[in-house]
Amino acid sequence: MINEITGWSEMKSLKLSRLLVYLLMVMLILLLFIAYFVAVWYDELSDGTGIIKSSVVVPGTVMIYICDLFGLTAVFYLNRLLANISKDKVFIEQNTKCLRIISWCCVFAGIAMLVFSLWRYYFGICAFFAMFMGLVMRVLKNVFEKAVELKSESDFTI
């Protein structure tokens, strides 16, 4: 459907979403190569406000790698979800699975950040937001699960 005022269509919106997902995927892949340098830069930049006062280069690098891998997994499934939606396959089991995986990725990335907050307290806030995102995705997954069930019921109503 095309919006008469903006000329923006549903397909264009989906294409933009997929483009952004690809962009994010590229950024996350790049981050895999520069994780160590980001951690070194962050170590020089930040002050030691955490329970553990040591350098954050090693834990920071580990945290970035863990979060990056979960981020890449989430983005991969986000892309699959958008691909299914563009094929008009919205309320299917596979999309529910995608949302469940994305939700767990957010939670695990949140746990990684929570551990890192031992070195830098403010990563606890990032952990909270990641876990909150995981919760939102989980609720969305529950909505999709119910919608799949209702669609199946509707399809098999004669």
């Binding site: 199946s152 019921e153 098999f156 109503t157 004669i158």
Partner: protein, 68 residues
């Protein structure tokens, strides 16, 4: 499911084919197959009404409840 659809039995009694019944009731052959094989999750009253009309029977002749 505890509800058994005896549409096959009734169709045999009335000597009517699936295609003919589907056409008279106004549903697709695929949907009639879903109904006959017991895969259907619900039946609309309007569909049941038409089936009973065509087969000249009662809903109880087509649907049966069995304890699980």
């Amino acid at each position: 499911m505890a509800i058994i659809v005896n549409l096959d039995v009734m169709m045999a009694k009335r000597k009517i084919s699936s295609g003919e019944l589907a056409e008279k009731v106004g549903i697709t052959a695929a949907n009639l197959s879903i109904l006959k094989t017991g895969k259907a999750k619900a039946v609309r009253f309007s569909t049941l009404d038409k089936i009973c009309d065509v087969l000249e029977c009662q809903p109880g002749d087509i649907l049966e409840h069995e304890k699980e």
